[in-house]
């Protein structure tokens, strides 16, 4: 048998960063541009959007016509490698609980394919406990994060509109695209029910400004999930942060590096990390002045819990015992159908940007409702690029509606079937709610005592359940969707039959891929793992800058706040280093 050797890198870095998504990418970008030497470790492979291209491909370029595989669960053209199921990297559950865990394994992580919905948290979102008595307040408020939101808006680029909404703050917005046809119909239908509809806020450049550098304005192919190889118009950590930062010469990127644990010295300080290189299966160590975790909320807490020592017997930065706890995701429920007025519609290119042009921010007061937190609504529909699944189930459709004035029998074949496909194309419409869940101590991930992955690293065991708060919220979503669908004369084809038996169609936790809360910040070191600078209470040169640091996550997609807090923490690191505190 071969003996195992640990190879120690001789280079000493200012910062060792684990994970290259929004949090890790922003930390690497900020520190490298300040002249610090950075080692950026990524558990997945190298990925260069300029070379690894799926944008502007046609459905027939994929042998499976864009269908999904376990390597690309969101379809063959989606830019994210891996997802729910990685060979050799299992995770487990406590009986009777659920958590679906998405793991991107590539440079840039899931920012390569995300929805680009970039919503600032509002003033209320940082202080929810003061409003409804549930969960905890953040140790910081909107005023602490606002300057960073402002800078990120300008640096990265985001479109939207200033609406003067208290808890959906204004920002530095580029002009939004005009609504599509079905979005105009949704806007009118929602207004009838008192639901606010405003232009969406997506991190896509619609108008190039000087600071965008070599990035260009969107050319409206609607394929942000493929990552914008051609114009770099949308935000991905790879295109916008990491490759530009690599030009400073201050970053060494190590791909296929699965980090095992954070190393500490006798003084309890972090000295670096150990990792296995997936290419040669050898063990390595890399050391630095600070260690920054941004491996995703669950992976970062897994790493801390696995970093045990005499000094830290239950894991690093965990004297409070909160690491892994308060795990929560956005809630999600959806509904879809057809707009009969769009049958046999005129054809034109309505790709637009990748995603919705309008959305509904939370519009009600929870004090008058039977659930404590809000949700926003995302919409879709129209004439999209055909992909695997196109035309499925025609037998459930063509007998129900007159096709060109003619009553047909369900099913069929031949020229008549071709006419049906043309007739129904582009009439689809749908909507989904994304809501705020209450982070709870008894929703957690922990180290499974009996299971390791193929690298010998103990894996996570999940224990998460929704409460009535989330279930009642899903019920409200469905009632709202039914109303909007009804108002615009839509025929609901799915998602309308949910009831208490299936929690009103509430998605399993994890499914919305907004994992957060497992290494939360707070002023009380007995109830939180990090201070308000994303810095570990127990270990001053250890930082966590992904969604793990969140106390709660509002009904806002968390990326924009991860970016803002990572920039804030990175600048704090720079300033503390200058003061020799780190």
């Amino acid at each position: 048998m071969e003996s195992i050797q640990i190879k120690k890198q001789s280079k000493f870095y200012d910062a060792v960063i684990v994970g290259s998504g929004a949090g890790g990418g922003m930390a690497a970008y900020t520190l490298a541009n300040a002249g610090l030497k950075v080692c950026l470790l990524e558990a997945g492979s190298m990925y260069d959007p300029q070379k690894n291209i799926t944008q502007l491909k046609n459905p027939w370029d994929s042998p499976r016509r864009g269908a999904s595989t376990k390597f690309r669960p969101f379809g063959d053209f989606d830019a994210c490698y891996y997802g729910w199921d990685i060979e050799g990297e299992p995770y487990t559950h406590t009986a009777g609980t659920k958590w679906d865990w998405w793991r991107a394994r590539m440079l840039g992580g899931r920012t390569n394919h995300w929805g680009r919905i970039s919503l600032r948290f509002g003033p209320h979102d940082f202080k929810r406990k003061s409003i409804d008595g549930l969960g905890d307040n953040w140790p910081i408020g909107y005023e602490d994060v606002k300057p960073f939101y402002d800078r990120i808006d300008k640096l990265i680029g985001i479109f939207g509109t200033n609406e003067g909404l208290v808890n959906d703050p204004d920002g530095y917005f580029l002009p939004p695209p005009k609504p599509r046809l079905h979005e105009l119909m949704i806007k009118n239908a929602a207004a009838t029910s008192g639901v606010t509809v405003i232009p969406s806020r997506l991190s896509i450049i619609t108008k190039k400004e000087e600071q965008h550098g070599d990035r260009n304005a969107c050319f409206y192919c609607g394929q942000c999930n493929r990552n914008c190889s051609m114009a770099k118009a949308d935000f991905s950590s790879s295109n916008v942060l990491i490759y530009p930062a690599m030009k400073t010469g201050n970053i060494d990127v190590v791909a296929n590096a699965m980090v095992r644990e954070v190393l500490t010295n006798k003084d309890g300080l972090a000295t670096g990390v150990s990792y296995i290189n997936k290419d040669d299966m050898m063990e390595y160590e890399v050391s630095g002045r600070v260690v920054i975790l941004a491996a995703s909320a669950c992976e970062s807490s897994r790493l801390l819990l696995n970093s045990k020592s005499v000094r830290y017997p239950n894991g690093l930065a965990n004297s409070s015992n909160v690491v892994g706890k308060y795990l929560h995701d956005s809630t999600g429920a959806a509904m879809g159908g057809l707009l009969p007025q769009l049958f046999d519609r005129k054809r034109y290119n309505e790709d637009g940007v990748g995603g919705l042009h309008v959305y509904s921010p939370w519009w009600l007061d929870n004090k008058k409702l039977d659930f404590p937190r809000g949700y926003h609504i995302e919409y879709w529909g129209g004439m999209s690029q055909p992909a695997y699944g196109f035309g499925f189930g025609m037998e459930n459709l063509n007998g129900k509606f007159l096709v060109k004035g003619q009553q047909k029998e369900a099913g069929g074949y031949g020229k008549s079937l071709k006419e049906d496909h043309r007739f129904f194309y582009g009439a689809g419409v749908g909507m989904a709610g994304r809501g705020e869940a209450i982070p709870r101590e008894d929703n957690y991930c922990e180290i499974d005592p009996t299971t390791v992955d193929k690298y010998g690293i103990p894996v996570l065991r999940f224990n998460v359940k929704w409460s009535d708060y989330e279930i009642n919220q899903a019920k409200h979503m469905k009632e709202t969707f039914k109303e909007i669908m009804h108002n615009m004369g839509a025929i609901t084809t799915w998602g309308a039959d949910d009831g208490p038996e299936n929690d009103y169609g509430l998605e399993a936790p994890g499914k919305i891929i907004h994992e957060a809360g497992t290494v939360r910040m707070g002023n009380d070191s007995k109830k939180s793992a990090l201070n308000k600078w994303n810095q570990a209470h127990d270990c001053k040169n250890l930082f966590v800058v992904d969604g793990a640091a969140f106390v709660s996550q509002a009904d806002k997609n968390i990326t924009w706040t991860i970016l803002a807090l990572s920039m804030r923490a990175s600048e704090y690191i720079i300033s503390e280093m200058k003061k020799n505190n780190l």
Binding site: T54, L56, W60, D61, T69, T161, L181, M185, E350, P386
Partner: protein
């Protein structure tokens, strides 16, 4: 028809022009050794799997492929707007997708055999060997779920799957995308819904939208 006679026909290969026994490999089909080429990004493990999939022996026999081709062209024939399923290489797509999605394998292979047995009993020959009139007569019995007789329910299920895969295969081909009239997947400037379409639906953009949204001179 006499059951003993049916079995005899099966055994002598009157149905199966390719391999008679399912699972028997046909070496002639298996000798394709070509390095697959993709013009879209493939991650390393993904590429390895694709290569393996493409080098696997054909899942369908020659006879099954011929039957699939006849069915696909009945489902999507050429018309004044576009060509047929086989012209758009839909049978080739189906041959690949059953390897990629093994859940289709038993319903497809079993459904094809169900169809052949039905034709054998009724016409004393396989579906493929039936006359076009006989083929359409059988298809009519399984293509309309509401009208179909209960004893045809398995055939209905199979035909619905064939309809799904054929429709998807066709409308994701170059020919099919043109037929359906999808105009996107190309750099352009989104200037909003065309004026005549807004008029058709009695909709307008608000002053606010016209003021704040991005616009391009057309």
């Amino acid at each position: 028809m006499d059951r003993r006679k049916s079995l005899k026909i099966l055994a002598t290969g009157a149905i199966a022009t390719g391999a008679v026994v399912i699972g028997c490999t046909n070496t002639e089909q298996n000798n394709k050794v070509t390095e697959p080429k993709f013009n879209l990004d493939r991650a390393k493990e993904e590429f390895e799997r694709e290569k393996k999939l493409l080098s696997e022996p054909d899942f369908f026999t020659v006879h099954e492929m011929k039957t699939i081709t006849v069915l696909a062209d009945i489902i999507i024939p050429a018309d004044e707007i576009s060509g047929s399923a086989s012209e758009a290489k839909v049978p080739e797509f189906i041959a690949f997708i059953v390897k990629d999605m093994p859940s289709h394998q038993v319903p497809m292979k079993g459904g094809l055999r169900w169809l052949d047995i039905y034709c054998l009993k009724k016409y004393d020959k396989s579906f493929f060997d039936c006359t076009p009139t006989e083929q359409l007569s059988v298809v009519d019995k399984i293509a309309f779920p509401k009208r179909a007789k209960p004893e045809m329910s398995q055939g209905v299920k199979f035909f619905s799957l064939m309809r799904d895969l054929t429709s998807t295969g066709f409308y994701t081909s170059q020919e099919g995308v043109k037929d359906i009239g999808y105009k996107g997947n190309t750099p352009n400037q989104w200037n909003g819904v065309p004026t005549e379409v807004l008029a058709q639906y009695g909709l307008t953009y608000s002053e606010k939208e016209l003021f704040e949204c991005i616009r391009f001179d057309s």
